[in-house]
């Protein structure tokens, strides 16, 4: 028996037209963790994009006399062994790391969702696509990266310039090599959602297949997608750092959090602030994104809304 949900007499409230997004926002605001997440994330984004002009130090400027300094007035987070200002590098690095994390996760997400939905929804594609997933899962990442950098770097550099080119390459590579788990999860969910009666109902009124996917299936697999997105961002930020230290990443004068953390690790006993801050900011980003993801997932579920 369907238990009656707490029925507030519908006639009593809401005569005004509610927009879905106001609802989502209203529910989202109720999620304390998500709210804190938004503030932290917004703080990071603002700091990273507004901070540099305020701080006013070129991250690549070198002050040879000021090497390996601890925090002081001119260098609030100290300097590194070359004489870069750590704060300036942190801020510049944040721009790159955030951009890489978000866009690579987005690519992985789109690919994973696309492949997952196709495999789950189109029966004849299921086998081939799942085998493709197996293939990607077992590919050796490093050689693959070497190959793609060899094949695409110069073309991209010519087309977009050295920095954007390598950015696109890295983002693309991370995205292309990390969609597999999302695809599997999505496929599983699609398989079960497509057996639900509201999908049959949509068929019965003659809804076209692609609309069934967009209208009925996708919205109902949002929560696993959200979770993979969160993990994806963390994964992309970390993977980027691994690429940097293998010489496959950004040019060396292009700081990123991952790289700062990696380079700084050797100096942990000399200038601890070089590692602490990138570490803290990576963790904070991941945490805040995770909580935002949780909040969004709840807010997007109308069943939890209004609670």
């Amino acid at each position: 028996m369907n238990t009656q949900t707490t029925s507030i007499d519908p006639a009593v409230i809401d005569t005004e037209h509610r927009s879905m997004w106001t609802d989502v926002w209203r529910q989202f605001r109720k999620h304390k963790g998500a709210l804190v997440g938004v503030f932290v994330f917004a703080f990071i984004v603002i700091a990273v994009f507004v901070g540099p002009p305020i701080h006013g130090v070129d991250p690549n400027a070198i002050d040879f006399r000021a090497r390996n300094l601890g925090p002081e007035w001119a260098h609030p987070l100290g300097t590194d062994n070359i004489g870069h200002d750590t704060l300036a590098q942190m801020l510049a690095g944040g721009q790159v790391s955030l951009a890489v994390g978000l866009s690579a996760a987005l690519i992985a997400l789109i690919l994973g969702t696309l492949i997952g939905v196709l495999a789950g929804f189109v029966k004849s594609l299921d086998g081939p696509l799942m085998r493709l997933t197996d293939v990607f899962l077992s590919l050796p990442l490093l050689p693959l990266l070497l190959v793609s950098i060899m094949l695409f770097r110069d073309t991209l550099r010519a087309a977009f310039g050295p920095e954007t080119g390598i950015f696109l390459l890295i983002v693309g590579l991370i995205g292309v090599t990390s969609w597999m788990h999302t695809a599997r999860i999505v496929r599983g969910d699609v398989l079960s959602i497509k057996e639900r009666e509201f999908v049959t109902a949509a068929y019965s009124i003659g809804t076209r297949r692609y609309r069934i996917v967009f209208r009925h299936i996708l919205p109902n697999i949002l929560s696993p997608i959200m979770v993979s997105a969160t993990l994806g961002i963390a994964n992309a930020i970390i993977t980027e750092s691994a690429l940097s230290f293998l010489g496959l990443g950004f040019p060396p004068d292009f700081p990123t959090w991952g790289r700062l953390l990696y380079d700084g690790t050797n100096f942990i006993q000399i200038t601890p602030s070089r590692v602490i801050w990138p570490g803290v900011f990576i963790a904070l980003t991941v945490l805040s994104v995770n909580y935002i993801g949780d909040g969004l997932r709840d807010a997007l579920d109308p069943r939890l809304r209004g609670r």
Binding site: M1, N2, T6, S7, R307
Partner: protein
């Protein structure tokens, strides 16, 4: 207050109030329910979905999710013990041992990864300290009792290997396994179709006669109750609104809700009605503390007093109690005694 002095009362429930604390506020699910169950009696509990039938029964043995659930007050005397006050150790001894349960949905009430045999012997081994082999033997007997053929071979099967009706029979067997004094059956046949339902109703009748235990049978199907019960209790929005012997209730319902409920049913015999009667409106908002008669907004007989005062359960004739300010038989406000 109906407090039967009879010594054969198995369970005596007084003024149970249960609430849920939710993000939206407090849900008043059960608002002071009192009743007795006697030995060998089958008490039917009917009412529409959400009126608090399940919550009442779960409150008695504290199987509610707590929190958000909270039993605010009341007592339930069973075996010389107040179940509401009892600590979890005492309750553990009673649950499954002296009180058996059958739940609403046979498809999900059995653990899918444990064998039927295990689930069947669990309570036996816990309450009767039976040995493994003795418990299995008893389990076979129980399965045979509820009419599952080749019971012995089926002990090691998993629930999904049984049909819905058989699963519900397994649930019954589990509930009966320790010879409980009281069996609480919460809509045990609602999810089944007619032929299987008929099998189970039949089975219950037989078992009741054989084992002589008290049964509380919760349902919203008035037909089932008519079939089985000795006495019936009608609930609405967390209150008991009418209670009577079964014939009396069906022949002369005294509460407008019961009255309307009986008329919504299509008849299997006689002239086909032109149109089914229906009760318009929505059940009340349980977030609000009930101050007036909860049925009054939907009640065709509602008058000024109904919106002011909440009626209490009153003895109106032999074996018949009702909570209403309107005297349906005489079509006038009830005289307050």
């Amino acid at each position: 207050m109906l407090s039967n002095p009879d010594s054969d009362v198995v369970l005596s429930v007084t003024d149970v109030v249960t609430q849920f604390d939710t993000a939206d506020g407090r849900v008043h699910a059960v608002n002071g329910v009192s009743f007795d169950v006697r030995e060998g009696e089958l008490l039917g509990v009917v009412g529409e979905s959400g009126c608090g039938k399940t919550v009442t029964m779960m409150s008695l043995v504290k199987l509610l999710p707590m929190p958000p659930g909270k039993i605010v007050g009341g007592s339930a005397l069973f075996d010389g013990q107040d179940l509401i006050q009892a600590d979890s150790d005492a309750l553990k001894k009673i649950r499954g041992g002296k009180i058996g349960f059958i739940f609403q949905d046979p498809m999900t009430s059995l653990n899918p990864v444990l064998t039927v045999g295990y689930q069947l012997t669990e309570a036996l081994r816990l309450h009767k300290n039976s040995s493994k082999s003795a418990a299995r033997k008893r389990a076979v007997e129980l399965l045979e009792l509820v009419g599952i053929p080749m019971a012995k071979d089926r002990l090691d099967d998993y629930p999904h290997q049984f049909s819905g009706g058989m699963r519900q029979r397994v649930m019954i067997a589990i509930a009966l396994s320790c010879d409980p004094k009281l069996l609480i059956a919460d809509e045990p046949t609602t999810a089944l179709d007619v032929t299987i339902q008929a099998q189970i109703l039949d089975l219950i009748q037989i078992l009741r006669k054989e084992l002589g235990m008290a049964i509380i049978w919760v349902t919203h199907d008035l037909g089932v109750v008519a079939n089985l019960a000795d006495r019936v209790m009608v609930m609405y929005s967390g209150f008991i609104v009418e209670r009577a012997d079964v014939e009396k209730l069906y022949s002369t319902p005294k509460h407008p809700y019961t009255h309307a409920l009986l008329r919504t049913l299509p008849q299997m015999e006689g002239e086909r009605a032109q149109r089914l009667e229906s009760i318009e409106g929505q059940p009340p908002d349980q977030l609000l503390q009930p101050e007036s008669c909860p049925f009054s907004p939907r009640c065709v007989y509602s008058f000024e007093r109904c919106t002011r005062e909440n009626p209490f359960l009153e003895f109106v004739s032999e074996g018949h109690e009702v909570a209403c300010w309107w005297d349906l038989e005489n079509d006038r406000p009830r005289e307050v005694s």
